[in-house]
Symmetry: C2
Amino acid sequence: MLVHQVFFWLKKPNEDLEAGMEGCRAIGQLKSADSYQVGVPAPTTKREVIEDSYHIALTVNFKSIEDHDAYQEDPIHLQFIAEHKDKWEKVRIYDFNLA
Amino acid sequence: MLVHQVFFWLKKPNEDLEAGMEGCRAIGQLKSADSYQVGVPAPTTKREVIEDSYHIALTVNFKSIEDHDAYQEDPIHLQFIAEHKDKWEKVRIYDFNLA
């Protein structure tokens, strides 16, 4: 399984959080994806190692890197990026294979 | 569900990767954890938004923040940190609640 873990920092979280999460749910349901989940920072104890300044966590799981690559090129995914990218202050992605 | 997503950067990945992953598997199986997975960076296409300089991804899922807090204080978890922390160049943790 390939895990595509995305974190979004929004410019205007108060205004754009819900729309951003809905967009994430839409692309998580693309046929190339095996499963997905959407989250928001949890109120765990703050420590130096904790990164909690992001606003949305999107996890999309793929059965193969080919499925991941198909997802990247899916017109609905590209439309999501086009529609939402101006709302993002920063995006950080960690792709990892389960081992 | 609370997702505890940890990324480890090792000082000496060639030497310490296997031991680090074994340690992650051990703490992922603590009774406070609902489930866990361990991964390594996937060879997806490099882009500006991709972070692939870490060596180990550990995901631990908890049914509640209380279970997460119990995990943090579990003697076996504390022993894992004591035994392995000198091998880490950096640790970054993202805790998020599924929404």
